[in-house]
Amino acid sequence: MKFTKTFMATTALTMVAGIAGADHHMAKEMTIVSWGGAYSKSQLKAYHEPYSAKTGASIINDDSSAEAVAKLRAMNEAGNVTWDVVDVVAADAMRLCDEGLALEIDPDTMLADAPDGTKASADFGDLLVSECFIPSIVYSTTFGYRTDLVGDTPPTDVCAVFDTDAYPGKRSLEKRPINNMEWALLCDGVAKDKVYDVLATEEGQNQALAKLDTIKGDVVWWSAGADTPQLLADGEVIMGSTYNGRLFSVIEEQKQPVAMLWDAQVFDLDGWIIPAGLSPERQARALDYIMFATDTQRLADQAKYISYGPARLSSAPLVGKHAELGIDMAPHMPTDPNNAKNTFLYNYEFWADYRDDIDAKFQAWLAK
């Protein structure tokens, strides 16, 4: 902690003096771990390139976020942590924080204030779900459908997924219970505010699985975010769930005949953690990067490249047009009022408590 304090002070001083590039107490090179694909590209454009230009630090990308928890554990055990900043979903950040693998962050001293002087803790608000986690985006898991394969009445309701009479054809769902169980209950007549109460019970879980059972033969299960876009482009499925940014890219960048079904989208957070136990130089560099990459302007900049909502309140008004396509990004954000009529927020506590249990049941059901 003494190191942390010393180098927090260094970081603060650097910011004041504005000479971060000339600071000799920071590592020159850093490894940033993220998800790859279009998402890493948006970070490269919005964060990495401006940061390198400003400070001269060189950034190496490692697309290993999918196995971040396991790899960080192994690195920690081997005493050889090679990562400096890691992009993870909120649930993974919580696990890493609980295990002491991530550095605790004090938002008001380690993160930049909003331009109007609002403290970071207020600017991020409720999205600071863990002591170690600095959220950068709000994304949603939602459905896309092939406009040319759903007939004359395109679906407007998430329950179309379970309606194989009106919409015959394959649909792709993620190979895990999270989200699928909620959607199944919602479409089996459970009221939205009761979904987690019902899902906490044995009968509720069976009810959800029974509902999923009605479409089991029509489901293609995906495990990587790129699967559903590929399946939709092939016309192999008529609708499928994936992250909204992937669907944006399919629709607007690849011009595929696909449309969004925002109904009952599930919000989740993605952001940064800094691994615990870095050398002082590397930690100083990581903190300096985080301070830069999560300020109001940078978060708004990322939305120019990918349709994920910035995690700061103060960034929302700054969201502009897509950097290459020139279209307005605001209507494509999951948080846009038109898209967010009916939404879920990923229920961290519920899934932290029930995940292992329901996972086992879900896998057993899949194997049946």
């Binding site: 090179e29 771990v33 694909g37 190496i60 490692d62 999918a66 081997a78 050889n80 990587a224 876009p229």
Partner: protein, 402 residues
Amino acid sequence: MAALTPISRKPFWLVALVVGLFGGFIGLFVGTANGNGPMGVFIGAALLIGLAWFYIYVLKDERAGRGITFAGLGIAGFAAAGMPGLVLGAIFGAIGGWMIYWMYEGRYRAYVPPYLTAGQVLWHFTFRVICGAIFIFLITPILVVLPLSFNAQDFFTFTPEMLRFDPEGYSLKHYRDFFSNNEWQRSFKNSLIIAPIATIISVTLGTLAAIGLSQSHVPGRRAIMAILISPMIVPLIISATGMFFFYSDVGNWLEGLGLGKTFVGYVKVVLAHAVLGIPFVIITVTATLVGFDRSLTRAAANMGADPVTTFFRVQMPLILPGVISGGLFAFITSFDEVVVVLFVGSASQKTLPWQMFTGLREQISPTILAVATILVFISVCLLTTLELLRRRSERLRGMSPG
């Protein structure tokens, strides 16, 4: 090849049977693609049998018959499915027309020995068909990748434009991405750094080990051999886990000596890959040493050459083919390897397979296919060069290339 057997015309039923089978087989694919396999089989068989009957009993002009089949099926294909239909229809027509006369005139019999029974002739051709099918089965997955890598879209999909041979549907953008994207370039460079160095280390150590182990007086030869080739037998994931912890310590120690983090990272990956490559070198070199005449080394020693000179002037040139093929295996092992490098390497040592692996999982981008095409091309060139060199050296040594 000269004809071996005088030929005669064959009865219609035999022609009908063979061309019917062929037509049915092709019809199965066309039919399945259109959602009705059995119907396709029936139409394909009936079409060719009908044409055979028409040519044999009505037209009686081979040149006209084959021309009609070729052009007619091409046009029919074009009407049904556009450009790809034209090509496929014309190919089917050309083969079908040729086959009708090949059967009817009995030409299939001309180049097989005259004493074969009907059953043996049948097996003669069935065997070739089976060999061809196996060949297609092996090569198709590689060939499918080639056209897809020129896709104008970012998906692994044959778009309608591509099937129409519309230039709009093709582009070089995935190749451009590979050559301009920093991540791909860096990983390509890393592969080109790591694989050759690992190869040199494994060839050197592997050859020495093989020569040592081929001496009859070495105690515990078999046990040592078993240990040395164990990286090839132990499941890679287990080696990788062990290597991760082992090389973490090695790396920390090296960094403690004041060496740079990136340099140490390369050393770790190169050493790990060298370990994986050594078994291949040992096995190929040991196999070559079996045919090596020991009396040559004794003769060299008799003439006053020390062991090192003997090795480089006498033994090495003779076992070179084994060393080279072992080296090639070691190179490919390192160049293809993804599991160990994922464990041992850090992001600055990201190799090409690692980049392809993450690219495939996180974003199904045809850049991977472009890279695969380039790699296939490089491998073909490499193997061709090697084969040409081998033939040349055998010719120089007065042996016939085999």
